[in-house]
């Protein structure tokens, strides 16, 4: 005779498997429908390319716990995008997968944007956890604090 636990454990296991399978199908469908990563991203709806920014934005090197990283200053990119009061906003870095992380202007000021074959567009910050190093970046969303 099966007890309550013996009945419910297989049901719960099937449920989590189903959740995992449905989520996997959804994620794969989403990836197929997302435009392939390139070196373009948007800030506040304005589409920018890494190449064009390279000509106008200062390149800086920051020290991280994975060594020195060189890229375009995020402070410069935000300033050039026409945001008049950068400290009045917080910034959400969105990836194509769609991972996203939000940081304040204090963090943005210290960060850089890089481009590589491995990670496409990627941001690095020297003083906060790697979880904020968003790669496959497609958008920087600017929100009021």
């Amino acid at each position: 005779m099966l007890t309550g636990k013996e009945k419910i454990i297989p049901v719960l296991a099937m449920t989590v498997l189903l959740i995992g399978i449905v989520a996997t199908v959804y994620v794969n469908a989403l990836e197929n429908n997302t435009k392939g990563p390139d070196n373009f991203f948007t800030i506040n709806g304005n589409k920018l390319s890494f190449e064009s920014l390279s000509e106008t934005t200062q390149e800086i090197t920051i020290e991280t716990d994975e060594g020195n990283k060189t890229g375009l200053s995020l402070e410069g990119i935000i300033t050039e995008s026409g945001i008049s009061c950068p400290s009045c906003y917080r910034y959400t870095f969105k990836a194509s997968d769609p991972y996203q992380q939000t940081v304040s202007w204090n963090e943005v000021k210290t960060g850089i944007l890089t481009y590589s074959q491995e990670y496409n567009l990627r941001v690095y910050f020297p003083n906060i956890a790697h979880t904020f190093w968003v790669y496959d970046l497609i958008e920087i969303e600017v929100n009021e604090v």
Binding site: I128, A129, T131
Partner: protein, 216 residues
């Protein structure tokens, strides 16, 4: 007193073994391009958690193991998000404890292969996904940037999908580990304490030594 000392030594021993495997084996898997977090949870974490529960039969032990393993993971000399991984491991111990607290310590409920496979799926999936969610919530708070729920919601499908591989690994791991129930391991105190302390010291010395060599 003696039982408490034995439990404490067991927490340090199994926590150190778990943390050691996360740092050394996990980093090697990651370096080989494999999904290390999923494999570590679906096989190693589940194995250490279930074995320790089977042999010590003490509530709260797996929470302690998670704290020890997470602490050791902070000293990972290799690349990665140390804070996130340490938080994930610590929360995995707690989540495991919550899932298993309704089961008896002799695990008499898991007598059929179907129940063993089901419990493996359930444990690995919830432990992995739960740990992932905890890191997404706590890491921004620890980092001082603040937690934004919309960031978690946007990534939730990926988090739920990422639990599938650990769940499938858990389905295989748990029935294998439960075979160890047949072993009647008895070890004298004179041998238990030196072995537990020796293995724990080795794990910590190896990780800290590598950390000093590569990172410091």
């Amino acid at each position: 007193m003696n039982d408490k000392m034995k439990l404490f030594a067991g927490i340090i021993l199994f926590g150190s073994l778990w943390g050691f495997s996360e740092v050394i084996i996990g980093s090697s898997l990651s370096g080989a391009g494999l999904p290390s977090g999923m494999i570590m949870t679906g096989i190693f974490a589940l194995a250490f958690l279930v074995i320790s529960r089977m042999f010590y039969k003490q509530p709260g032990m797996q929470i302690g193991m998670g704290l020890v393993a997470g602490g050791l993971r902070m000293f990972n000399p290799f690349v990665g998000c140390h804070v996130c991984s340490a938080l994930a491991i610590m929360s995995e111990g707690l989540i495991f404890e919550l899932i298993w607290h309704k089961l008896s310590f002799d695990l008499k409920e898991l007598k059929t292969p179907t129940l063993q496979i089901s419990m493996g799926i359930l444990s690995a999936y919830i432990v992995y996904v739960g740990g992932y969610i905890v890191t997404q919530v706590v890491t921004p708070v620890v980092a001082g940037t603040g937690f934004f729920v919309e960031n978690l919601i946007a990534f939730m499908p990926q988090i739920l999908a990422s639990g599938l591989i650990p769940a499938l690994l858990g389905a295989v791991t748990l029935p294998i580990i439960l075979q160890a129930k047949r072993l009647d391991l008895k070890i004298k105190d004179t041998l238990y304490y030196p072995t537990a302390i020796g293995i724990s010291i080795f794990c910590w010395a190896f990780v800290l030594g590598t950390w000093f060599l590569f990172a410091a």
